[in-house]
Symmetry: C2
């Protein structure tokens, strides 16, 4: 095995409760049986040698699995005599067993726990290409595709175990930009491989999803149109779905990136996004299939001279008017912010407009804009902030977490031995799973749990790792692009600083900095983006004084001498953040160095090397952003720190 | 045939002199025979039906080929009775016949002509990769390589004819960045294909050159070093050359990019550039082989914070101290400017330091930084300027043209039907050939000749095309990067504007523009680059008032309000140039439009399309550069023209 098991690498425990000496249960389903197997092997790995019984015997403390019929995911754990009873459907038992093993491994007493996930769809979107590369992948090559074909290996199974162990239940294995051989996933060509993956996933309750190209009828079907209202097109999709869904068990549906960044879509035929999505929804409906329809539709050939068009507005402009027009089995998949996974963005206003449409929030744990798994950036606190965000547009169920119907994250995995390149990046995978199950989960507690499961229970390690994780996003934010403005990264790669890199490009991401001012005005006098929010939020965002400072440059164009609440000028605040961000990154690296000898040497050195990359990159960010602003403004740092001329 | 014959596509002539009715000669060499074939087929294409005789008969006017023994390239044409006599070696006859046919096609009376080329090596460097791609290629794929292997086709022969017809006699078929299968050119793998190409070239007097990797002994020989002083390495190269030169006739030697942009070289082993080059020179010497050793050695991982290091200095710093240490069969190959093929650079000072070393000047007709064969940019006037440049360091033979021993240009060809993507770009190939033969050739006359040979003799076409070509470089310069500063192009692609694209990168190409000033100071108070020139030139370049204005920002850092000789501020001059450059580009496009119906419709439309691209791009350059400077300075255009904020 050339990869680790991450948080599933159970450690031997010195003391185990008496009930670990016996395991009872006779699950009937494949998932229930998998749960039983995990329970036994987990206990064994922790040092128990449990007796295995079909049914409980009075007087013998045991961990008992009670399987009930059905397919829901609810699970309950309770004390039963001197033992523990885990009850649920087959799927429920999986989560129950992993929950139990995690608590046990943590060495914690645990209360009774009855839980059901907040969302029925909790998935990872892999941007894996058929050729084995991964778009925005920072942890090696794909383990789903090799030599142009899907493969099912031992790793596929361990992937499914890791998914289930943190509560995730869906996986889209291929990139939303469907290219090359990935197109053939819809044909019969790879049916056998897909079936294997699907069965492997199914054992752990993980559904298989596929990204499909809207123009598949042209590319594969030999049709001369992909018009969603064309009868031939509808028929082609129906026949394709019949073949696919009947041969691949556990296929949940399709993910579609349409009319986005050059991808084909219904707009090419003068049809609405709803018409496009609904056509596909009709085709998958007979099999209980769902369509995840991305809302990442914007003008990606913008002229930088055009100051009227605002990419931030695009989601709402395109999709808000369509609320209520989508089939029940269509989920609009919207990125958490209005632009694209920057380290700080407001919550996408679109969600506030969807009253009669199912929606799926797309997070990204692949750290495309947040250090690419070379920098540590624990994203769960940010996700929690977003899930807690209130739209102030209805009296109840007004939070993001209450409005969405499902969640997904762009995956951060690859075939690296540690799955995620940076060992600490695995916390984002684990954490995303936990917060997907329970959006009220505490990111600090998740970090602590992940650290103990991954690195063991040495308090010095737990404290340091947890502290690093919890500080990491603010640190990253400080030394990179300030106050929500975003887009200072190198074009194309998105790693490292290039403040003007996108300035005259076609992507609609402009800073418009000059000698006196910086930013895009998005209030009513500007692009009007603020007005896409409900009146109380719009009022807050449009008012410079009321706007949260961390988002000031997302919403407003301001002079460098604008006074922040603490009296510093905007420019000085940016300088300060950049100097501080670097210092804090260096301090995190130092803190890690102190863990030498307290955890596996190879892991220690691997993370140490990443921290060195991060600190070097943080210095680069600090100096480039500060120099760039200094050259524009000619204002030195008030504290006389070094800014290169 | 899926390609044109460019200037060799002889047109029928209404009137031909009487002597075209008879061709005499009995050449003995393959080249002499090729010359005879070209003469006959050329005359036939022009409408003659010449009688072919072995020897002249009194009283019958004829074109007579007189072949003399030897291998020099000298040729003479003279009136002989009522006929024409072309005399030379086989190689000389080739040039003589093409010269004769060109004059005849132009419909011109021609004087007696005795000529020999200024340089024994006049070659094109192709940056073709074995996989068929071309680095900085803007005219399709390679016609030398397909599917990882060299190929010899009909096009190879027509390429050799085109080369010979404009006086070129060498071709390096593969990229100086030797990668992938191109490494195997040194092994026996492709000997048969290389032999075919070499023989095909030889017929037209074109020598074959190969780019080789300095670390070939490691990559191919299984050695553990490529140290030039290692006996095993020397032996490996000797054996490799023995096999190669004895099996491939007409192989002239190797081109080497060593210690440059990540390529391996002698520096890796603590050896000097001379030690590296001489080792190879010893290996090729038994076969009369030569080593072309590129001087493109500089620090390509510079820290932008470092203001002491100056890439412009690198050539001289590395190579001037080595003058006299190279073997006779080593040619130092230096780019025409100290940096990298920008639209305006001073002449590389290195040449002024080479008193006892053979040198080869490298031009680039691939328009990497000059519009990539989408913009018209006729480079021959620039080459002529450079060749005429005086170093003022010795009383005679002080010009570039007198100091160099050879010339080459990075090729602009590919497998596009018109060879060069932009039909007008073929003028650079033709012109480079003519000026290589005779560095005192007149670029205007070359343009005129090329136009007539290519498009026919309609005076309106000739006048327009010649006028466009002659203005094109200054027009391009005006709307792109001003006054010699260079490097405002998009990183990587080098097409289109991105003024700060390279600003914080590792390539040593910085503008260092701030609110008040722009440029790098290269005088004695700065990086001292000016002091690499002879005292009179150094005095001129270091003195801002004496420095040629078109190079002002190459040599000096200046405030935007610096007064140019005509009283305008530097900033206003830049604004003016950008507005004017766009207007002039649009005017060239309009002038072309007026030629509709006067030349082949397909060619007309193809060039028209390129002009549309150029005008769009010129607007982009104008607006981006002006806006960027406006944002920095907040100074509006004095004439109130539109600069986007």
């Amino acid at each position: 095995m050339d990869y680790s098991l991450l948080w599933l690498d159970w450690r031997p425990k010195k003391r185990l409760p008496a009930y670990t000496r016996c395991v009872c249960g006779l699950p009937a389903t494949r998932q229930g049986k998998a749960a039983l197997r995990e329970l036994i092997s987990g206990l064994q790995a922790m040092g128990a040698a449990p007796e295995i019984r079909r049914s409980p015997s009075t007087g013998i403390p045991a961990v008992t699995l009670m399987e009930r019929p059905g397919s829901d995911e609810q699970v309950s754990l309770r004390r039963s005599g001197d033992g523990i009873e885990i009850a649920g459907t087959g799927r429920g038992l999986i989560y129950g067993v992993f929950h139990f093993l995690r608590r046990l491994s943590m060495g914690e007493e645990f209360p009774e726990w009855t839980s059901a996930p907040a969302y029925a769809i909790r998935m990872l979107d892999h941007w894996d290409n058929a050729d084995g590369s991964i778009e925005r992948g920072y942890a090696g090559q794909s383990f789903f595709f090799r030599n142009g074909k899907p493969v099912c290996t031992e790793r596929t199974r361990d992937y499914a175990r890791l998914m289930a162990s943190c509560g995730l239940n869906g996986c889209c294995i291929n990139n939303v930009n469907v290219r090359g051989n990935a197109r053939k996933l819809l044909t019969g060509s790879y049916q056998r491989e897909l079936r294997r993956i699907a069965l492997c996933f199914a054992e752990y309750g993980v559904s298989l999803w596929l990204s499909v190209s809207f123009s598949a009828p042209l590319e594969l079907g030999g049709l001369d149109t992909a018009d969603p209202l064309d009868e031939g097109v509808r028929q082609w999709w129906k026949e394709t779905c019949l073949r696919l869904f009947t041969s691949i068990p556990n296929l949940a549906g399709f993910l579609v990136k349409a009319d986005s960044e050059g991808r084909p879509g219904p707009h090419s035929y003068g049809r609405s996004q709803a018409e496009g999505a609904n056509m596909l929804a009709d085709a998958v409906r007979p099999y209980g299939g769902k369509i995840l329809w991305r809302c990442f539709v914007y003008n990606c050939t913008q002229d930088w001279r055009d100051t009227k068009t605002d990419r931030a507005r695009a989601q709402c402009d395109h999709f808000a008017p369509l609320d209520g027009q989508f089939r029940e089995n269509v989920y609009l998949q919207l990125k958490n912010g209005p632009v694209d996974f920057q380290v700080r963005e407001p919550v996408s206003p679109l969600l506030g407009h969807l009253e009669r449409t199912a929606s799926l929030m797309e997070f990204q744990i692949a750290q495309e804009y947040t250090g690419q798994q070379r920098h540590v950036c624990y994203l769960i606190p940010m996700f929690r902030e977003i899930l807690d965000f209130r739209f102030h547009s209805r009296p109840e169920k007004d939070r993001v977490s209450e409005r969405i119907s499902a969640v997904c994250a762009v995956s951060n995995t690859g075939d690296d031995g540690n799955w995620t390149g940076h060992d600490l990046a695995a916390a984002n995978w684990f954490g995303f799973g936990l917060i997907s199950w329970n959006p009220a989960a505490d990111p600090a507690e998740i970090a602590r749990e992940w650290s103990i499961l991954t690195f063991g229970d040495d308090p010095a390690v737990t404290e340091t790792v947890t502290d690093i994780l919890l500080r990491s996003r603010e640190v990253y934010e400080k030394y990179t692009s300030p106050l929500g403005i975003g887009w200072m990264c190198v074009p194309g790669t998105h790693y490292g600083p290039s403040p003007e890199g996108y300035e005259f490009d076609r992507w609609g991401t402009y800073l418009r900095a000059n000698h006196r001012e910086i930013g895009v005005e998005r209030g009513p006098e500007g692009t009007g983006f603020t007005e896409q929010y409900s009146p109380p939020l719009a009022a807050m965002y449009r008012d410079i004084a009321a706007c949260p400072e961390e988002l000031l440059l997302f919403f407003h164009r301001l002079p460098y001498d604008y006074r922040m609440k603490d009296g510093r000028t905007l420019l000085q605040r940016i300088y300060d953040d950049h100097f501080a961000g670097y210092e804090e990154a260096a301090a995190m690296a130092d803190a890690w160095d102190k863990l030498e000898g307290r955890l596996d040497g190879e892991v220690f050195r691997r993370v140490q090397e990443r921290f060195r990359m991060q600190v070097r990159s943080a210095a680069e960010w600090r100096d480039v952003v500060n120099t760039w602003l200094y050259r524009l403004t000619m204002q030195p740092d008030e504290k006389g720190r070094r800014i290169y001329p």
